[in-house]
Symmetry: C2
Subunit: 408 residues, 2 copies
């Protein structure tokens, strides 16, 4: 059995994702689809609307065969680190292909771009470093560095978020000599950041916007997501009384910033270039997370960058702890969130050849990356009323989601 | 003008306290009554039911002339440190006398006890250290050390909380050669820890119990407190929507224990002898503060000791920060919470002779003790809904309570 990997967040799992899975299966003709998915916190520095277990289950019911966790240490990071964690996880699982969505759906511009990038790597890295040290955000610094080596005029529009991510995947796949074949399908029409629902296939942003503000699944929203997601969203709300969003974490963040010293704040990943002073200065006068963000935001401190910093403040994740992890050239383990019968079959086949432990329950292995995961889980569920939290904390020590129905 | 000092918590200010003030005034015949009062967190490790400003105002309206803050660094500590901070604050304010309540209301047993203690100080300290290193709580270790030097059989019952505190005051007054005259009046009948209201004069514990559980001022409770306290309690509830109690801080404490490492937890004052492991082990399974405390409590870890530890976890107060403060033989400043006309007159008179700065607004001085105070203030008000907090945070930078009515 051969496998194709997809790199996802599923916040929530919607019709666009279903389309991506169907097209990936067609294009790659692989038997098994493996999704490596962000956990409870996402790449752009947000709490997921519902937890990873519910999101994984919906996806397993609608097209994937295996869901594995993208470790927190890689999930809440800029495109290059996000890509590294995801690609190396899929590599550890011996996938043949990775198939991602892009604006044009052609892989050759990515491969050509990589060639050009590879030849000018030193210049690119130099430019990237210069940009970052000037205080530019990672996407902005990358964009300029790509410009310097003429990548942006070469048929690949690297101002599109999906293309940036896609190029990061291709870079990792080739830089690490994984032997994986990169493949891409064309994204459907809706823009990555669209704020409103216009079609049956809508952006995750617009779907979240539609349901989180009223904490209700409208008919309009239901048309954009498969039945399994409707079920997952409804169940989660029944069990917890809510869907997650930043405001629920505002008191915890205020507490952290108000009680920790400048030195302590500075140790947290993302609190850099004097942001600790800015945090202290604005914390007292903010009545909500939204208001605080607006007070903090500048051209230099983008919304995404600030949100990621807040996730790390919430989970107490330090630069010093992440550094040695990010320097590794493989992931320390692969953690299964769920699988179908077919997925289980595939795992049984590759398990013995794998070079890192394959685990599911958190207590099966000890590693700093798993400790970080545990802190992220705990922090995430603190949004739920105290009397209901225990059950969710305990989910981590229980078996993965197992669907007996064979997929597709 | 001469002054008498009293050492108080006023949680809340009740008829027993009014009685104490009246008797102190009679017994000492001083013009000015100065109360040094715990701030927002109290000696036994609890958040005060209403903040220090509202408590100070009620007391100023009903008998005291000046209210000053007992710094957090001394307030949430065992009897000896609590006494040290309070006595040295009053000493800095040049009081002639300190008058405290005791079971019998006679000062001579305290003075005789001190003589005996002084002669056997080395033996006492040795015994105390031995007890503490065996893991006994401070009151228990003190009790045994007093027993060793025969103090408990000498007319002073040192098993009574009020007598323990009183003896700590006398010790500090004499150990530091303050020249202050210690004086005592007899406490009225209600027991220090009585849980129910029986008389017009009731214990603060019983009053809190009566009103906090229902978040309502019952007629029974109103009979035990002066009009100014009724007003202060009502105003505070109107402004914030609540009276403070531990459960409101449970989510913050859970967050701290869930996201900080064992090493970080161990740095916090009171997290000792492996308590960090016990905290980690019990945190997930507790649905409330009460439940958590019950899981943590043992003979060794008394309720008070655990509560104090939780205050320090909430305010992020470290042993390493407290140590140099506790080694000083004077307080770093005196902070006015409020005063009457007479109080102001007295302060004008002594101000120039004072050896430490006299301040009121928090921004008037910089000192680690004040930084700690600020963290305590911020942590305390986090129990209030987010949209109302700012106004309370700002209270620290505003002038003290000033009553124009002349007292007495």
């Amino acid at each position: 059995m051969n496998a194709c990997g997809v790199i996802v967040e599923y916040n929530p799992f919607h019709n666009g994702h279903v389309h991506h899975l169907e097209e990936s299966r067609k294009k790659t003709e692989k038997d098994c689809l493996i999704a490596v998915m962000s956990g409870n916190f996402l790449q752009r520095g947000e709490p997921a609307i519902i937890d990873k277990w519910h999101r994984a289950e919906a996806a397993l019911k609608t097209g994937i065969d295996i869901a594995v966790e993208l470790p927190y240490a890689y999930a809440v990071q800029h495109a290059d680190l996000f890509a590294k964690g995801a690609v190396l996880t899929l590599h550890a699982l011996k996938v043949d292909t990775i198939c991602f969505g892009s604006e044009k759906g052609e892989i050759s511009p990515f491969l050509k771009a990589y060639e050009q990038y590879h030849k000018n790597q030193d210049l690119f890295q130099e430019e990237l470093k210069r940009g970052l040290s000037r205080g530019l955000s990672f996407p902005e610094a990358s964009r300029l560095a790509y410009q310097t080596i003429n990548l942006t005029t070469n048929g690949l529009d690297l101002s599109q978020p999906n293309n940036i991510l896609g190029f990061s995947y291709v870079k990792t796949i080739l830089d690490f000599n994984t032997g994986i074949r990169p493949e891409t399908i064309q994204r459907t029409k809706s823009g990555y950041h669209d704020e409103e629902i216009h079609h049956r296939i809508a952006s995750a942003t617009s779907i979240r916007k539609e349901i989180v503000s009223g904490q209700m699944l409208t008919e309009k929203a239901k048309e954009t997501i498969p039945a399994a997601t409707v079920e997952a969203l409804n169940n989660y709300q029944k069990e917890t009384g809510l869907w997650h969003h930043w405001e629920l974490y505002f008191p915890y963040l205020q507490h952290v910033v108000l009680t920790r010293s400048l030195t302590e704040l500075k140790e947290v990943h993302g609190v850099e270039e004097g942001l600790e002073y800015r945090l202290k200065k604005t914390v007292e006068r903010s009545k909500s997370f939204q208001e605080w963000m607006e007070k903090l935001k500048t051209r230099r401190y983008t919304w995404t960058r600030l949100q990621r910093m807040f996730v790390h403040l919430l989970t107490n994740t330090k630069t010093a702890d992440l550094k040695p992890i990010h320097q590794q050239s493989s992931v320390p383990y692969v953690r299964i969130l769920g699988m179908t019968e077919k997925g289980r079959h595939y795992l049984n086949q590759v398990k013995r050849e794998m070079e890192v432990p394959l685990i599911s329950r958190i207590q099966e292995y000890e590693h700093p990356v798993l400790e970080m995961e545990e802190r992220a889980v705990h922090s995430y569920y603190l949004a739920i009323p105290a009397e209901k939290r225990e059950r969710f904390f305990r989910r981590e020590i229980q078996p993965p989601v197992i669907l007996s129905r064979t997929q597709g």
